[in-house]
Subunit: 342 residues, 2 copies
Amino acid sequence: MKNVTLLVTTALFIMGCNTSGDNEDLNSQSQQSKTNYEDQLPSWNDGKTKKAIIDYVTEVTNPDAENFIPISERIATFDNDGNLWSEQPAYFQLFFTIDRVKAMASEHPEWKNKQPFKAVLDDDLETLKEYGMKGIGELMMATHAGNTTVEFDAIVKDWIATARHPTKNVAYDKLVYQPMLELLQYLRANDFKAFIVWGGGVDFMRAIFTEIYGIPKEQIIGSRIKTEFDYNNGNPVIRRIPELDYNDDKAGKPLNIQKIIGKKPVFSSGNSDGDLQMMQWAASNKYKSFMLYVHHTDSVREWAYDRDSHIGRLDKGLDQAIENGWTVIDMEKDWKVIYPFQ
Amino acid sequence: MKNVTLLVTTALFIMGCNTSGDNEDLNSQSQQSKTNYEDQLPSWNDGKTKKAIIDYVTEVTNPDAENFIPISERIATFDNDGNLWSEQPAYFQLFFTIDRVKAMASEHPEWKNKQPFKAVLDDDLETLKEYGMKGIGELMMATHAGNTTVEFDAIVKDWIATARHPTKNVAYDKLVYQPMLELLQYLRANDFKAFIVWGGGVDFMRAIFTEIYGIPKEQIIGSRIKTEFDYNNGNPVIRRIPELDYNDDKAGKPLNIQKIIGKKPVFSSGNSDGDLQMMQWAASNKYKSFMLYVHHTDSVREWAYDRDSHIGRLDKGLDQAIENGWTVIDMEKDWKVIYPFQ
């Protein structure tokens, strides 16, 4: 497992890892803003960020307020990687992919001599690096397609139950952010309908997250590969075929939100430039909207990275957040704990 | 308007219009099956069909029953055209398309000499016929794209408020089936989550139906054209571009259900062969499922058509319904009224 970590961390997905210093004043804990609200976000430190969230929710759910939002329009959209769970040292779906290549290798003897599979099997960093994102795409198609939706679901469930994060040494689904779980619950309690809108595979996430987040499968939106329907002599299946159908990232996010939800979010939460168009889309809502960026500032309890990271880069998004007064979470200062087990 | 009717009815979308006689025994009102249930489906005549629906819902929502279905899995999928509202003498979205060609003609002087637009503007039946489905596709792209999602929504809302059905002479949205409105409400009251899954345009339907059916936009699935995100100097819009993105018909229905909902329906309702794969998909559910076909048997109050119709053809679907014991609604016998205004 250490080899895998090394392989991934030091090659394709090396992070910039500069702890942000630019943005600390945005989230400084203002003593004067402390109020005696009932604490529905106990893992959030009191301060500007927490207050902004609660003030917003309180205002737009008040029927007497000018900015009241009808329940049917309370659509909240959340990115996942780096926003609801960690994404370092690489997107967890990539670890799944690598583990699958190894698990499937015995059925594919040809992979021993076929790149980029050989590189994964040999833990051969330098060679895999040469194949870049195209190589990763090949690995994903080989491991995510060629099965039915039911089979794939079982494979992911089995993986999440057994695989361990290479450095944190816990199951990947333990690495969700406790403060964000509370935020999801808080929004739900105020009749917001939260959707996950992420760049990873929609069926990968549906296999893992429904219970953890309290978000039903039909509110999970993501990238996907193509599928075909097979009547299969009266036992119909949907087969996953190795071709990208939709990339739910950047401008793909608002487009998918419009296609699938048909409403503009009033609450949008992300952590990277890949979420920027989703933020812009929410910011243009005729209802008062709330844009929330997670800024990875905690190098001790989690990871610290932003403008120079290859994973979850937050650069233009941070500029626009500052420019437009969007709320930016300083993980180090705003969150009492990161993970539920802490 | 009569010209339009003539144009459409007698050309591309001529119906077979043979009143079904094959299937009457399936839905005969059995005196012995009458029970004293509380009537939540008042527009349904007592009989086999109504009893089958109520028996199913009562059983699968009973926590003590072997076939109990958890609330999260109570997914119901409904076709729209010919299933929740009428579809004769042509799909209503086609009337919208024709009306739009005429409304937009002044901005497109070239259409006077360009087919198939010229044929629509001239009410020239024979010529339009020559252009077939490809011609209809061209008309749809010209009238449904080239605007933003917000603009298109307003156009559809304006049309539905003013247009009148050519023979029924009422607004199109009055031509919803009262018994199906009751069924949607009955399922909702029993914690089913109903989705529309139709072959028409998803944004067309979202502009019209949310309130009538009590189904939120995010539970409406349909065909769609491609879109692009335009940041538009800080006032982002989504532009509709004239290219088919997804055809939500036949096998496209279960595929879209899997993509968007991620769960297999337990209750599926349709009226044509275009719904057959959705029915097969629901029928393969590990939970007890219910497949419901609307059979258009009422030539007096609505229209009667099935195996030979160019619109809403029900042929293979009827065979499979009979073979598998799916429930088939005989509109003439099972429904006390067709439309809410009756």
